[in-house]
């Protein structure tokens, strides 16, 4: 048996932490509360050791979209209300969005999907269903390559799959989705037969080569986080 060597929280604790954080981010009304949450999640990024330059490169598009949200609140909604009210609404909307994305980014950066699947299976999720997440994640690099190949092939043929028009949307659907679906389904039979040939699903339970430990600290943190989120949500 291989135990997950990395120290730190169990993925389920992190998931509870993320959900609680998102609840707080959605409930935060004042810019001060939102800024405090933003500072907390940025501190979390700093603790994980993610270089700021990489963080910025990954999230600059998100920051730009948050700015668009702010400006849209300022100029397009609540017309007639004082500028201060509209600006506060814009700040609230932009920071809410930013906090949720930053929190999710922190979770994804520190939690492999496989660990999450194994943790869920240890918690009691039937392994046949837990395995679906593992299979889906394993397919990602393959489908990414396939979709890029298909898109580039269609663009080389002059098909406007990259054009922002309704025709472009239809082209994406017709010339990209169909090949990708055929590719995906083409893999299904071989993998299913291979799995069944190895007696997948024969037993109601199974042992795991890899385990993700759930420590007492995880339980304490989960309980504390839920309590804090519930209390804060009730107070806001």
């Amino acid at each position: 048996m291989i135990t997950c060597p990395k120290p730190g929280l169990n993925p389920l604790s992190k998931l509870v932490l993320l959900v609680s954080f998102c609840v707080l981010a959605l409930r935060a009304e004042s810019p001060g509360q939102a800024a405090a949450l933003c500072a907390a999640v940025l501190l979390g990024h700093a603790v994980t050791g993610l270089p700021p330059a990489i963080l910025w490169r990954r999230l600059r598009g998100i920051a730009v979209f948050a700015l668009v949200l702010f400006l849209s609140q300022l100029f397009l909604t609540g017309v007639g209300a004082p500028w201060g009210v509209r600006a506060a609404s814009g700040v609230r909307m932009a920071t809410r969005f930013l906090n949720i994305i930053l929190g999710s980014h922190l979770f994804v950066s520190t939690t492999p999907a496989e660990d999450l699947a194994y943790a869920l299976m240890h918690l009691g999720l039937p392994y046949r269903y837990g395995f679906t997440l593992l299979v889906a994640m394993r397919f990602v690099p393959y489908f990414r390559l396939q979709s890029n190949t298909v898109l580039q092939a269609q663009m080389v043929r002059g098909i406007g799959v990259d054009r922002p028009s309704l025709k472009g949307v239809w082209c994406v659907a017709r010339y990209t989705l169909v090949p990708l679906v055929v590719t995906a389904l083409g893999r299904v039979e071989s993998l299913a037969i291979s799995m069944e040939g190895r007696c997948f699903g024969l037993h109601p339970r199974r042992t795991f080569l890899r385990t993700v430990p759930f420590r007492p600290a995880d339980a304490v943190i989960m309980a504390a986080v839920i309590a804090v989120a519930a209390a804060a949500a009730a107070m806001f």
Binding site: T132, V172, L180
Partner: protein
């Protein structure tokens, strides 16, 4: 409804093949969603709106759930695909973070609910399921973020998403199912509805072209294509007209001032909004230093401007403030009875003409009217 698989006496709701199919299709959907989202943003830019136009892509997100639900033929497949697709999207860098899992799950759940009575649903059921599921994302986003956009604009986005869901989640998904079934990649349950593969440019089952039904089906599908195109064109045109006449606020270049304080409806005053309220008064400026002989001034009565803001019953005073800090204070009751106190446009500024008052009550460069 198909029965589940049996392995060594144990009965499973989903066979291994079903689970792999759900995983594979969800993974493909999650991977392509990033690109679909990118195209949605381009559509927003093309239409010049911060969000909303991207809802034309919403159907491409639910297409996968409809496909899986029909391919597996069991209720729950759509929901499981929703959970998986959302999780894949989140882990592969979705710009929505955790909420995408919730949105995806709800979309898959709605597909399951809408197709509950069917093992192999007809085209109409697929279109309805796709439309409802696609429209749900607008509602969930609004519930999460409370963006404050008008209900009309929200309804418009729901309409776009619903139309997209009908086309891509229903009509298109049915065509793709016809293709994969015709190519023998997938074997669906018997009693399948007519395939629309011919319309998609790929023949359906081998040898079908020899049958007389092929030509008729192709003609029928082209009529449906025309009808759907017309429907979407009308919806788009109607949506654009609604947005630019009811929602979109052009950036006002002229002078403005805020009406605020003890009022039920604070707002930004713009002379153009009071085109029908304009009056002309003759007034003479008698200041301690400045004197202007009687002249005609045309503007909007301050009383009318305040009426639109609905002052509180407890309000008694009105302060008119200029951008340089100068201000004049009036009795609210006097203003409401006096229609000769007017705000006029003076170049790029507003000016208060206070006929009957001393020159010190004539305020230039008015930026705020505060009710106290």
């Amino acid at each position: 409804m198909a029965s589940g698989a049996t392995v060594k006496g144990r009965r499973y709701y989903f066979r291994t093949r079903d689970l792999v199919l759900i995983s594979a299709v969800s993974s493909a959907g999650g991977v392509l969603s990033t690109y679909v989202g990118y195209l949605g943003n381009l559509l927003n830019k093309a239409f010049g709106v911060p969000f909303g136009a991207g809802q034309w892509m919403a159907g491409l997100h639910v297409f996968w759930f409809v496909l899986v639900r029909v391919a597996v033929g069991r209720t729950g497949a759509g929901t499981l695909a929703g959970v998986l697709k959302g999780t894949v999207e989140m882990f592969t860098g979705s710009t929505h973070g955790l909420p995408i899992v919730l949105i995806s799950t709800i979309e898959g759940l709605l597909v399951d609910l809408a197709l509950l009575p069917f093992t192999r649903p007809p085209l109409a059921a697929l279109c309805i399921a796709g439309g409802i599921a696609a429209a749900s994302n607008v509602v969930v986003f609004q519930a999460l973020y409370f963006s404050g956009v008008s209900w009309g604009y929200l309804a418009l986005m729901i309409l776009f998403a619903f139309g997209s869901g009908i086309v891509f989640g229903g009509y298109f998904a049915d065509g793709v199912l016809g293709i994969v079934e015709g190519a023998r990649i997938l074997r669906l349950k018997p009693g399948a509805p007519p395939s629309w593969a011919a319309h998609l440019g790929v023949s359906g089952r081998p040898g079908r072209a020899e049958h007389t039904g092929h030509v008729g089906r192709a003609r029928r599908s082209s009529k449906i294509h025309l009808a759907v195109t017309l429907l979407m064109g009308v919806a788009l045109a109607g949506g654009a007209v609604y947005y630019y006449t009811e929602v979109f606020e052009p950036f006002w270049k002229g002078p403005t001032c805020t009406v605020e304080g003890k009022v039920a409806n604070p707002y930004v005053y713009r002379p153009v909004d009071f085109g029908d309220e304009v009056v002309t008064v003759t007034a003479e400026l008698k200041g301690q230093v400045t004197y202007r002989p009687p002249a005609d001034y045309t503007g909007v009565p301050l009383a009318r401007i305040l009426e639109r803001a609905h002052p509180d019953a407890s309000a008694t005073r009105v302060r008119v403030l200029a951008s340089d800090g100068y201000e004049a204070e009036f009795d609210l009751g006097d203003i409401m009875e006096d229609r000769t106190l007017i705000l006029i446009r003076e170049g790029e500024n507003l000016r208060l003409i206070a006929a009957g008052y001393e020159g010190g009550y004539w305020v230039r460069m008015v930026t705020r009217v505060v009710v106290q």
